[in-house]
Structures are given as structure tokens and as C-alpha cells.
């Protein structure tokens, strides 16, 4: 084969590969740009301030009331509830898998957690709606079987695989010598885990929590199906037992019915933009934390 032609071909292929490499950046920017493009017109109708502090979400009223506060707080409530359940359980499970479990159990638990990660969110929503919700409502004597805490519970189990596997990576990355030194000083295995291993794996665990948060706040189908979707501002602990409406559920429920290019349509894109910014922040911080800890360990 003619070497010149081959060189040209290789050059072309390599440029194509390079372009594909940069594609991820292009896509992130494109998503941001498109959300922005369809979200900005909402400010012909309202202001950032009204959007952020408005306490009423009645998008089809005349004029529409586009207060995102109840939706934002609804999302935060469900997410924080999910983290309260999944972080302690997930980190404990990770510590168990990497430090305590007998070998055969480790070999069973890890794939089991991975299987958990594959269950689609709509299935969790379905199970919450038909099985867990009615059961919990009976147990707690609630009027309505759809409430914020139910969403938290379902999300906790959905975020669990991510938290377990990332925390486990972080714990595993703690150098063996640290453990050996601690044990040699007479500490029990538990003291070593609690005082040495977990603190040393701290930044990785924090990253796992942040990523779990990003996952939980962006979860859609489950919360749409189990949280009742009432756009109230949740208050105090009882708020977990009442219905809320999250940002993701609002987009999913209303986009099909709303008219194109109306303030309501743009407001839904504004919610999408807000979600994008929140998850972007969580992921970027998590990434920085992981990278920084990686450098210090090395």
C-alpha cells in the first residue's frame, strides 16, 4: 500500500479520535446551552428573585405563579432524607465488605450490591406505590400512602450501590501499613477501622456522599410515583410524612401537557437548568476532593 495514502488516512483517523475525545466537553456545554436557551425566556415573565423565593407553584394560573421554592425544598427534603438513611448504612456496609466480612461473603455481597444498582428507577417507584407505601402508611397510621419519607427511603436504596462501592474503593485505598501499625500498637480491629481506616478514607467517602446526593436529587420516576406531588413547603420532621413535589417530578409530570414556548414551558427548562447546576456542582466538588486525596496518598 502507498505509504503516503496510509499516512493521510491515519492522520484523518487520529483527528477523528481526537474529536471524539473532546466530545464529552462539547456535550456538557451543549446541554448547558440548550437548557439556557429554553430557560431564559422565562425572565420575560418573572425575575430570578420571584423564581427563587416564590412560595406558590401554579404554572397554569393566569398569570402563572412560578415559585420554585416549594419544589427546591421538596427535592432537598427527599434527598437529605435519602442520605440520612443511605450514608450510615452504605458506609457501614462498605466497611463490612472490605474489613470484616469473610471472603465468601465478600464475594457474594459485591455482586449483590451491583445487581441492586441495575434495578430501574421506575421499578422502585412501582414497588413504592403498590407495596411499600401502603404498608408503611398502615404501620405509621398515615392518611396518605404517598409522602416525602417514602421517596427518601426508596432513593436511599437506589443510591446505596454507588455509596457502597465508592466508599469501599476509598477504604480499600487506605494503605495496609496504617492498619498494621494500628494493630501492632494493640488496637482492636474495630478501633483500627473506626479511628484509622475510616478517617484515612474520609475524602473518598465524602466524594461518595456527594455523588450519592447528585444521584438522589436527579432521580425522577421514583419520586414522581411515590411522593404525592403536592407543591407545599415541607416543615420540620413531620414534613417527611407529608407529600411534597420535587423538581424532577414536576418536569416529568408537566412537560407533556404544557404548551410549547409558554412561560410554563420555559419555567420547566429553568428547573432543568437548576438541576443541572446543582448536580454539576456536586460532581465537580466530588471530583476535586477525590483527586486531591489521591495526590496526598501518593
Amino acid at each position: 500500500m502507498n505509504t503516503g495514502a496510509r499516512r493521510v488516512r491515519e492522520w484523518l483517523i487520529e483527528r477523528a479520535i481526537q474529536a471524539a475525545g473532546a466530545m464529552a466537553i462539547v456535550f456538557v456545554l451543549a446541554i448547558f446551552a440548550f437548557l439556557l436557551r429554553d430557560a431564559l425566556p422565562v425572565f420575560r415573565e418573572t425575575t430570578v428573585r420571584d423564581l427563587a423565593t416564590g412560595r406558590t407553584w401554579l404554572p397554569t394560573a393566569e398569570p402563572p405563579k412560578l415559585g420554585l421554592l416549594p419544589l427546591l425544598l421538596g427535592s432537598l427534603y427527599v434527598t437529605i432524607g435519602a442520605l440520612l438513611i443511605s450514608v450510615p448504612l452504605g458506609v457501614a456496609c462498605a466497611a463490612f465488605i472490605s474489613e470484616v466480612a469473610p471472603r465468601w461473603m465478600r464475594e457474594t455481597l459485591k455482586p449483590a450490591v451491583e445487581v441492586l444498582a441495575t434495578i430501574p428507577s421506575v421499578v422502585f417507584g412501582f414497588l413504592g406505590l403498590l407495596l411499600v407505601g401502603p404498608w408503611l402508611a398502615e404501620l405509621l397510621d398515615l392518611d396518605v400512602p404517598l409522602f416525602a419519607g417514602l421517596g427518601s427511603l426508596m432513593l436511599a436504596f437506589m443510591a446505596m450501590p454507588m455509596i457502597v462501592s465508592l466508599s469501599e474503593d476509598a477504604i480499600r485505598a487506605v494503605p495496609m501499613t496504617l492498619r498494621q501499625n494500628s494493630l501492632a500498637l494493640g488496637a482492636t480491629q474495630w478501633q483500627t477501622i473506626w479511628r484509622v481506616v475510616l478517617p484515612a478514607g474520609r475524602s473518598g467517602i465524602i466524594a461518595a456522599v456527594l455523588l450519592g446526593m447528585g444521584r438522589a436529587i436527579g432521580e425522577t420516576m421514583t419520586v414522581l410515583m411515590v411522593t404525592g406531588n403536592a407543591a407545599v413547603i415541607p416543615l420540620g420532621l413531620p414534613g417527611f410524612l407529608r407529600p411534597v413535589r420535587t423538581m424532577t417530578a414536576t418536569i416529568a409530570a408537566e412537560m407533556g401537557e404544557t404548551a410549547y414556548n409558554t412561560p410554563h414551558y420555559h419555567a420547566l427548562f429553568a428547573i432543568g437548568l437548576l438541576l443541572f447546576i446543582i448536580t454539576f456542582a456536586a460532581n465537580t466538588i466530588a471530583d476535586v476532593v477525590v483527586r486531591r486525596s489521591g495526590r496526598t496518598t501518593r
Binding site: K65, D143, V144, G256, T258
Partner: protein
């Protein structure tokens, strides 16, 4: 070796794909390409979806040469598709919006409205609820959050009301707001309270009310079943409570009802006209009645 070649070919696909994303108009509509058969795409309201499905089946038994495709997605989706030219008929369970009329005009589309059925909206509570009737004013107070306890309505030991509504973008939601929450426009400042639970469909509202002792909600007549108790409604001008039945909706005695629409681009022609005429005729309207909606004539 072959496999590697395939890989290389796949890699080479990357660029054209990026170019594809660069720019291209809508490829020709596929719905109108089935040879000699005339195609009618009917898109829109989820409330009307069962209705549209039955219409299509029955109509195609008579005239199999017309290729009718039906899909849901919501009233907004249907009207969007009609304006974009990807649908011949848009099903809508709500009145068209000013904004949509303007968008249609911009796109050179003239929206023509056809009322194809009425839908009575029944007020439902848990079977254990002691109430036997309810007035429009009381309903307005409940749904706007002015009354939050069953005791205020004369039902003791029922606790607080759990108000359950359709989702805020649905046609039923808007119709109920117009007819009941604002009391037929008497008090336009009233709107749904924030604490109202929103459900994706009639079915979901029904299921939730059936499971919620202190619940109250509304659903289309066609969805009623034994699992809930239906409350007759006392109209705004007083008088006897009226039960939501097909007869009472048709006669106008039961006031909580709304129209279901089909929109077309201009006056319908050809297969679309034949189909719409058939829907508005006796056979189409028989299906309307069978599914628990109220016929137009």
C-alpha cells in the same frame, strides 16, 4: 482481523454522526407514506386516549383503507404536533391557549375546533365518608384550602381533608378549577391550595382516594367504580344535589363537566373529514357513551 476492520469502521462512524447532529430539517413525514392509503395521525390528550383507540379500531373495521395512527403524550403535545404538521388531528381535553393560536398563525396553521364528547367530572370520597352531598361552594373552600377539616363540613372524626387532584397541566385540572374552584368564575382569585396532592391520571386519583380515609378528589365519569363513594353536587344556584350521571350531564343539570376537542388544520378534508364525521355520527358517539363519556348530541 475482520473484527478489527469492523471496529475501525465503527470508529470512522464517529465523525459523520457528529455531522448528522450538525443540521438537518425534518425528514418527510412517515405517516403519509403508506402507498395509496390515506394516513391520519391523531395525537394528544391522555384522557381521550382510550376513546381514540376505540374509535380507530371501529372505524378501521369499516374503512380499512384509511391508515389511522393514535398516540397520547398530552394535550400540549398534540397541539404542538398539529402545528408542526406531524399530526392531522390533535386531541385536547382543555381549551386551546391564546399562545397556541398565535403559534399556529405564525406557522400558517388555522386551528378548527370540533367538540367530540363531554366529560362529567365526579367528586369522590372514601367509602367510609359519612357525607351524602356537597355544594360547589364547599368544594371550592376545600380545594382552595379555606376549609381543611372534615369537621367543618359536618363530618366528625374524619380528621383533616386530604385533597387529591389531577396534575396541574391536565385538562381536567383546568376544567375543575374553572367550574368549581373559582365557582364558575365568581371568584377568580381562588386557585388550588399548595397542599393539594397531584396525580398523573384519573386512575391514580381514584386509586389514591380509595386508599385514603380522609381523601377527596375528582375523576371523569368513565373511571368511577365501587372502590369510592360519589358525592352528588349542589349547584351554585342552590336546589337539589345532582348526581353525576350521563343523563344529568347531557341535560345540563350536572354542571361540573367539560368538552373534549379534536383540532384540525383548517376544515378537515378527505380521510380526516370522513373520520371526524364518523366520530361525530351515531357510531362514534355510541363508543363515547360506552366508555362513560357523554355524547355530543
Amino acid at each position: 482481523m475482520v473484527r478489527v476492520r469492523v471496529m475501525a469502521a465503527l470508529l470512522a462512524l464517529a465523525l459523520p454522526l457528529a455531522a448528522l447532529t450538525g443540521g438537518c430539517g425534518r425528514p418527510e413525514s412517515t405517516s403519509s407514506e403508506s402507498g395509496d392509503r390515506e394516513a391520519v395521525a391523531q395525537i394528544g390528550s391522555t384522557t381521550m386516549l382510550p376513546l381514540a383507540g376505540r374509535w380507530q379500531k371501529a372505524f378501521n373495521r369499516k374503512q380499512p383503507e384509511v391508515d389511522i395512527s393514535v398516540s397520547g403524550g398530552g394535550s400540549g403535545t398534540g397541539i404542538r404536533a398539529l402545528i408542526a404538521g406531524t399530526a392531522e388531528i390533535a386531541n385536547s381535553s382543555r381549551d386551546i391557549k391564546q399562545k397556541e393560536i398565535a403559534q399556529a398563525r405564525e406557522a400558517g396553521v388555522t386551528l378548527v375546533e370540533h367538540v367530540v364528547a363531554y366529560d362529567g367530572i365526579a367528586v369522590i370520597v372514601h367509602p367510609s365518608n359519612p357525607l351524602h352531598e356537597i355544594s360547589v361552594e364547599q368544594l371550592s373552600d376545600i380545594f382552595s384550602g379555606r376549609v381543611t377539616s372534615w369537621a367543618d363540613l359536618g363530618a366528625t372524626r374524619m380528621g383533616d381533608t386530604q385533597v387529591i387532584s389531577r396534575d396541574s397541566a391536565s385538562g381536567t385540572y383546568e376544567a375543575f378549577k374553572e367550574l368549581v374552584v373559582t365557582m364558575g368564575g365568581q371568584d377568580k382569585t381562588r386557585d388550588y391550595a399548595a397542599a393539594v396532592l397531584k396525580q398523573a391520571s384519573n386512575q391514580a386519583v381514584l386509586a389514591l382516594v380509595a386508599r385514603t380515609k380522609s381523601g377527596i378528589g375528582y375523576v371523569g365519569l368513565g373511571y368511577l367504580d365501587e372502590s369510592v363513594k360519589v358525592l352528588p353536587v349542589i349547584p351554585l344556584d342552590g336546589g337539589e344535589a345532582v348526581a353525576p350521571t350521563v343523563e344529568n350531564v347531557a341535560s345540563g343539570d350536572y354542571s361540573v363537566s367539560r368538552a373534549l376537542y379534536c383540532y384540525t388544520n383548517g376544515e378537515p378534508r378527505g380521510a380526516t373529514k370522513a373520520y371526524l364525521d364518523w366520530i361525530e355520527g351515531p357510531e362514534g358517539q355510541a363508543i363515547v357513551e360506552e366508555l362513560g363519556f357523554v355524547p355530543v348530541k
